[in-house]
Every structure is written in C-alpha cells, then in structure tokens.
C-alpha cells in the first residue's frame, strides 16, 4: 500500500505541476482552462493518495470532495468569462487580447 501511495502521490504532484506550467505557457484561453482542469485533477489525486496509508480516510475524502466542487465552480466561472471575452475581442489569444485593450 505504501508503494501504491507513493506512485499515486508522485503522479498527482506531477500532474499538478504540468497543469500549472501549461496554464502559464498556453496561447489559448480554452487550453488554459483545460490545463487548469489537469492541475485540479493532480491536486485531487495527491490529496486522495495522502490518505491511503491510514485506517480512516474521512479527512482526505472531505478535502477531495471540497476540491472537486471548488474546481468545478472555478472552471464554470472561467468558461463564462472566456465567452464574454470572445464576444468582446473576437479572439482567445491572451497576447492579442492585451494588444486590443490598448
């Protein structure tokens, strides 16, 4: 079980960092939201695996459920903002949007 926990914890942490890095370098707002979702997946997996080695997993489960709900809400709001930005500027490229704002 300890090896499982380590594998899942490493996977979750790696996914979290991959997602954050992809959000930073993405040139499309939609792809940024997808990368954010990957980061949320990584956080959920890391939280879940942190509770695997113990008898009761109530605490880690509660945190994962909270993380799922908060992540989904943030993503829904982000997608709504993306639609508004697209209607206003006609593009989803952050550099182009910054140029048009000036």
């Amino acid at each position: 079980m300890v090896v499982d926990q380590t594998i899942l914890l490493a996977t979750g942490t790696a996914l979290l960092f991959i997602g954050v890095a992809a959000v930073a370098v993405s040139k499309n707002l939609l792809k940024s939201m997808m990368s954010f979702q990957v980061a949320v997946f990584g956080a959920n997996l890391a939280l879940f695996s942190s509770g695997l080695g113990f008898g009761s997993r109530l605490m880690s489960d509660a945190f994962v459920i909270l993380s799922v709900l908060v992540g989904a809400s943030v993503e829904a709001v982000g997608l709504a903002i993306i639609v508004v930005v697209y209607k206003k500027y006609g593009t989803l490229n952050p550099d182009e949007i910054r140029r048009l704002r000036r």
Binding site: T11, N28, S35, A72
Partner: protein
Amino acid sequence: MESEIIALLLSGALFASVAAALLSTKVSNSLIALFYTSIVLGIAFTVYGDGLLGLLTMITFAGAISVLLLSVVLITGESKLDLGARKLALGAIPLAAAIGGISLLAVFSGQEIGIGASDSSFSVLQFLWSLRPWDLLILMVVFAGAMVAIISLLGKEE
C-alpha cells in the same frame, strides 16, 4: 505486487491522456482526451475503494464540465468538432448502445433495489457501491466511445 501494477497502469493512463489533452493542436481532440482523463481519475478512486468519490468525479468533470467546455468550443468556433469517419460513427453508436445495454443488464442483474426493504436508503447505497470497478470501466469506455462517435456524427461535413 498486483496493486503496484494497477497503480502504475492508472498513472500511465493518466499521463497518456493528459499528454494527449495538452499536446493536441485541435481543441476538440483536447476535450475528448480530457474527458478520458476524468474517467481514468474516477476509475482510480473507485479501484482504491472510494466509489462515492469516483462517481462524483465522473459526474462533475466527465459530465457537467465536459458539456460546458463543449458548449464554449461550439460558441467560440475554436474547433469544428469534425473528426471524420461519419459512416463508422453511424455504425458505432448502435453497437455502443447494445454493448452498454447488455453491460448494464449484467451489472444490475441479481441485485435487490431498496424498494420494499426495511431501510431503503441503505439498500440503495449498498446497491450502488456494490458495482464492481471493472464493470464500471467497461461501461465508461463504451460511453466514451459513444461520445466520440456522436461528436464525429454531428461534426460539420466539409
């Protein structure tokens, strides 16, 4: 040893689907890969004995958020959602429906639903969580295949 192999397989599947989602040039392909990622994550939670969390992840991310992303992709016109192979998709949907129906029958057969039981809520919960992970995996793969086929079918024909 077997559980380590399962953990490695799940990690590999997660990395592969995330790589497909982030490296794909078409947004529609990224969306499908992300859909698979949420399903794999839900299966990982279910395999490690937390069916509630797996179900919640699948319902929230593979269900609601995928549909939201699909709507935004369609509204912004970032991708035409054209995967090609429409004839293949036409054949795949009835096949997926048939396999899904048979699997559902197999999963739900012989189970007592809580109607008429002394404590119905407990029975329903017991019934839900008694679903075996691999049956759920087959069902999810079938549903994911059906989703790809539907996107392919509804995509614009050039």
